[in-house]
């Protein structure tokens, strides 16, 4: 289908994009990689009056080292995340999750920040962002503000972003040397997860010192399996099977999937 008509705007700075959003009103929409938005427009599930294309904002692209954390530009593509050495060394879980997003063509256009802002509960990047304590750095008319992932994902396809705000960077603490794995259950190529589990584990001398576990598609947003995480701290690796039973989705079928996949994800993460 053909999308409804819209005005197309192409800002060259973040501040200009923020001004355009304010000027155009709440029926304007930011387009990043467009890999979720373009299908939505074509099916006419949305008909924004204006599209503000931030594809020209090169300042939002790339990954920077910021001491104890990484700063991932919101417009960094999945393809770039997959190949970035900082992410490989300090946030391996993000690379492994991104490897499973959609398909190669989509990963060339789709962006890290765009996926987070789209906030599809079946989207793969929400659970690791939550589990890794990512912080969203947001630009708006009043300046910059920071929102932790735990407060950013509000509901189905809904974030804490105001209509006149733009996600510009994502700060992710470094998890250097942590084992990681993303266990994703889907039935066919390029399908969304039925349930998936993102796990990162720090192991020293056979003892689990810290764990992060995030669940994809078990609710209206990503879920952090805090009970699993706390049950693992200070335990030997053999405690994983027992701890995984604490994963929960509040739904019978997915409850079982959450537990089984959590066990698999943690076991694979420990194995490195």
């Amino acid at each position: 289908m053909i999308p409804a008509e819209f005005r197309y705007l192409f800002p060259s700075t973040v501040d200009e994009a923020v001004r355009m959003l304010a000027d155009e009103g709440e029926d304007a929409k930011i387009i990043a990689g467009g890999q979720s938005l373009v299908p939505v427009l074509r099916m006419r599930l949305a008909a924004p009056t204006a599209l503000i294309d931030i594809g020209g904002l090169t300042e939002l692209t790339g990954v920077r080292d910021d001491g104890d954390s990484l700063l991932i530009g919101a417009m960094t593509t999945h393809y770039e995340v997959q190949r970035d050495h900082l992410i490989h060394d300090h946030a391996l879980l993000l690379k492994l999750v991104t490897d499973t997003v959609a398909d190669p063509q989509v990963r060339h256009r789709g962006t890290f920040g765009g996926s987070l802002c789209h906030a599809d509960p079946a989207g793969d990047l929400l659970a690791p962002a939550l589990a890794l304590d990512a912080v969203m750095i947001i630009a708006g008319p009043g300046g910059r503000r920071e929102v932790p992932a735990a407060e950013f994902f509000v509901d189905y396809f809904t974030t804490a972003l105001a209509p006149d705000e733009i996600l510009i960077d994502v700060r992710v603490p470094k998890y250097t040397g942590w084992g990681a794995h993303y266990e994703k259950l889907n039935r066919v190529a390029q399908a969304w997860s039925i349930v998936a589990v993102a796990a990162a584990v720090q192991v020293r001398g056979g003892t689990i010192e810290a764990a992060r576990v995030g669940l994809t598609n078990v609710g209206s947003g990503p879920v952090r399996a805090v009970d699993v995480e706390s049950a693992l701290v200070g335990q030997p690796v053999s405690a994983i099977a027992e701890a995984a039973l604490r994963a929960s989705s509040g739904d019978g079928y997915k409850d079982n999937l959450a537990r089984v996949l959590t066990g698999r994800a943690l076991t694979a993460a420990v194995a490195g």
């Binding site: 053909i2 197309y8 467009g34 970035d84 050495h85 490989h88 190669p104 989509v106 256009r109 190529a189």
Partner: protein
């Protein structure tokens, strides 16, 4: 809106509606009907073209987003009447039945071989995950891609299909590999 796009080595300047999809621009304005529309939902990959040397689904972006960029379609691959090695490999390995998915399969296969010059069976299948063949002729497609890899050593990259004399506009991978 005014755009300027290089498609298969020729620069076009056009006035387009912002809502015009890139695939419709290629087919209906430029007559590049070698790039086909398969599913209309972003799943099938039949409309795959290269944007600055990397594969994209041309039904998943607007023509205005290609402004200032370089597009290669299936029609831009052959040189002086000689097929691209991947096209040749698809022909000799009988990697098509109805042929509708073939333009997208070939464009994605070239992209895959740029990153993975000597892919095993599993790597080819993963690399073609975004392309669907409704004839389910995948076996010969995988064979063709591996055959093409042998024909193309040391590999096909954005440089091999570059038309302009300017520097390659393709994004290079940030890290290793």
């Amino acid at each position: 809106m005014h755009i300027s796009v290089n498609v298969d080595g020729v620069t076009y300047a056009d006035e387009v509606e912002p809502r015009l999809l890139l695939v419709h621009y290629l087919r209906e304005r430029l007559g590049k009907t070698g790039t086909v529309v398969g599913c209309d939902t972003g799943n099938c990959g039949a409309c795959t073209v290269h944007l600055d040397g990397h594969s994209v689904k041309s039904c998943q972006m607007f023509a205005v987003q290609a402004n200032g960029h370089e597009i290669t379609t299936i029609e831009g691959l052959a040189r002086d009447g000689k097929l691209h090695p991947v096209q040749e490999a698809f022909r000799t390995n009988h990697a098509l039945q109805c042929g509708f998915c073939t333009p997208g399969m070939i464009m994605q296969a070239i992209d895959l071989l740029a990153d993975e010059p000597d892919p095993d069976d599993e790597t080819v299948r993963k690399g073609l995950e975004g392309n669907l063949c409704r004839c389910t002729g995948y076996q010969n497609i995988v064979r063709a891609v591996q055959d093409a890899a042998q024909r193309m050593k040391p590999g096909a990259g954005p440089k091999i299909e570059q038309h302009s004399d300017e520097h390659v506009t393709a994004k290079q991978p940030v890290g290793g590999e």
